[in-house]
Subunit: 220 residues, 2 copies
């Protein structure tokens, strides 16, 4: 009976890792759609978000069923409750990728990202997608060194987020207000996406070490 | 024994209502600090957020203890799991109020909100604080009419959020890029705050009716 329960927990972890892969791909595609003004790609990210939402509901149902059926205590209980929280973070990451894609769709056929910010947004998209994939790996492997790498990648995302503001506040910035608004929002979406990934890996860290790590303080 | 359990559930609900009151006051004060450039008030919101975070941890510990000790099933289990989710939303609302206050502190002694946006931001702050208080009342009373009012107030917040962009995109807008960025972020904080309040009242609705309501789609 315990063995069956632990198989279920492993399967929950695998589903979370699968969701991480989906939200990573969503952000990679959303970034590409944003940079290239690719309407079809943007639409595909937007419609695929429903799958991520459905995965979350399915995962949450399974977790609640496990709670009802097995009445776990101690570490087992913490694992199930953590799974519920991680699925919430991952679902939110999917939303944020969808927001980036929506911005690309909204401005099509125009490009959202001005030339001067293309390298920054490219790096933000790469970091965000990498972070989500790594968070997924941490969930199944509980590799705390990789978790530390996620934290460093998120620090880099925060720096890039600040640098977007620095670029826009420089005297050379001559873009429209609409573009300033768009870039402020998109940069914020990337930054929040990173925060959620960090929150996922910290929950794993908590399960492994029993010590809660410092809370995520989003910049801005 | 069941009676004790239901007392505990009621007490969890009361603590959630208390948190709603704290996050409502935080947003009311943060808005005032933003509009009046009141540094001391901004600082007080920022430091009070730690109390909201502590309340959330306390509430979550109690909920997990309840799960471990009582092994609730069916509706009782749903109530405890919902309490965990509501506390997450409320904690996040506290963060968003802190972000608004941080913006006021960052620009002090300058005012963040240009004259033309003072009425809009005033109304956003009022709506946000009212929504949070109402969500708290819905948690203990399960008053679904009041829940519907929260949805309407949130719709109004979304309209105001869009109107901030309309104002900034108008040819008359001659504010600095910094101000455009600040107002984009602040408006987004209010809008997200409303979304979280709606998510709280929808969870209550779900507990009462067993029917999940339509998901919140944040604008922008």
């Amino acid at each position: 009976m315990r063995e069956v329960f632990h198989d279920e927990l492993r399967s929950l972890a695998e589903q979370l890792t699968q969701m991480s892969g989906l939200v990573s791909a969503a952000m990679a595609n959303a970034t590409q759609a944003l940079l290239e003004g690719d309407l079809a790609l943007a639409e595909s990210v937007i419609s695929a978000d429903a799958q991520i939402d459905a995965q979350q509901r399915h995962l949450d149902d399974r977790a609640v069923t496990l709670l009802a059926r097995e009445s776990p205590v101690a570490t087992d209980l913490r694992v199930v409750v953590s799974a519920l929280r991680m699925s919430t973070s991952l679902e939110r990451m999917g939303d944020l990728a969808r927001h980036v894609a929506s911005q690309a769709r909204l401005r099509h056929p125009h490009h959202v990202v001005p030339e001067v910010l293309v390298p920054t947004i490219t790096e933000m998209g790469d970091a965000a997608a990498r972070i989500a994939t790594a968070a997924g790996t941490v969930i199944t492997t509980r590799d705390l060194e990789l978790a530390a790498q996620v934290e460093r990648d998120d620090d880099r995302l925060d720096e890039l987020h600040k640098s977007v503001f620095t670029t826009m506040n420089a005297p050379e910035w001559s873009e429209s207000t609409e573009r300033t608004i768009d870039m402020t929002l998109c940069s914020r979406y990337f930054e929040r996406y990173g925060d959620h990934a960090v929150s996922v890996v910290r929950r794993v860290g908590f399960l492994v070490t029993g010590e809660w790590m410092k809370p995520v303080q989003p910049v801005a």
